[in-house]
């Protein structure tokens, strides 16, 4: 077992533990663990899922086409990670802009604070990646790019939320 595998296993265990504690806390407080979206939000979320799926398909097709011509831009797991990031990012941004990301009554402010903390943690990893590791090797993105790409994903989603929050603040009701 190498350093990377140990780190990955620790991350997964920590993530699972965090989720278990989080849901147990919410259940003890009587907070419904399932968010309830209204019918319009459910319809818009389906559209967002579709957009994310097609974004994923386009990326996979483009990557396959490049590989046919002998051009490989990513090491093995990096391409798959980028595909997932693109799908998640497209879904999240579309859902945020159509007001289908947050269930009624959910606070955008708490989300922005949480994402700010996550972005900071990813920023630390990103700086380490830049200083300690090689991001590009033989013209291909290496696995050490995952942290910077993750940071970009979280930043894009957070920016979408901030833009939408600002639009809603100035939206005229009448």
């Amino acid at each position: 077992m190498n350093e990377y595998s140990i780190g990955l296993a620790c991350g997964i265990i920590f993530g699972v533990l965090f989720l278990v504690i989080w849901f147990a806390f919410r259940k003890a407080k009587g907070i419904d663990p399932m968010e309830k979206f209204d019918e319009r939000q459910i319809a818009d979320r389906y559209k967002a899922y579709k957009s994310g799926f097609f974004a994923l398909l386009i990326f996979v097709a483009a990557d396959a086409l490049l590989k046919m011509f002998g051009v490989s831009l990513f090491e093995e797991p990096v391409g798959e990670c980028i595909a997932v990031f693109i799908a998640v990012g497209v879904f999240a941004c579309r859902a945020v802009m159509s007001d289908a990301y947050f269930a009624p009554g959910k606070s955008m402010r708490n989300f922005i604070l949480l994402y700010g903390v996550i972005c900071f943690a990813q920023l630390v990893n990103t700086v380490r990646s830049f200083t300690d590791h090689e991001l590009i090797h033989d013209g291909r993105l290496t696995i050490h790019c995952i942290s910077p790409l993750c940071l970009i994903l979280f930043l894009v989603i957070m920016i979408a939320v901030l833009i939408r929050a600002r639009q809603l603040k100035y939206e005229e009701e009448e």
């Binding site: 209204d38 019918e39 319009r40 939000q41 007001d99 269930a103 009624p104 809603l168 939206e171 009701e173």
Partner: protein
């Protein structure tokens, strides 16, 4: 097509969009979308809105023929 009947019925009850949304159990943006004509609600939501505003379906959601 904008739903002006809904908007005026809501104003007659002195409800904001958020207040009506809370009564009906949807987001404020959903009520806004219905009033702007950007979203067609299901019959279930239409009935919930009618109950909250003490109006009938015809009064709020019937489209007059041109």
């Amino acid at each position: 097509m904008k739903n002006l009947k809904l908007k005026s019925a809501r104003a007659a009850k002195d409800y904001s969009q958020q207040q009506l949304a809370d009564l009906v159990g949807v987001s404020r943006q959903t009520i806004n979308a219905i009033e702007k004509g950007d979203y067609n609600p299901t019959i279930r939501l239409c009935l919930a809105i009618c109950r909250a505003l003490d109006r009938t379906l015809d009064e709020l959601f019937w489209e007059d023929e041109a």
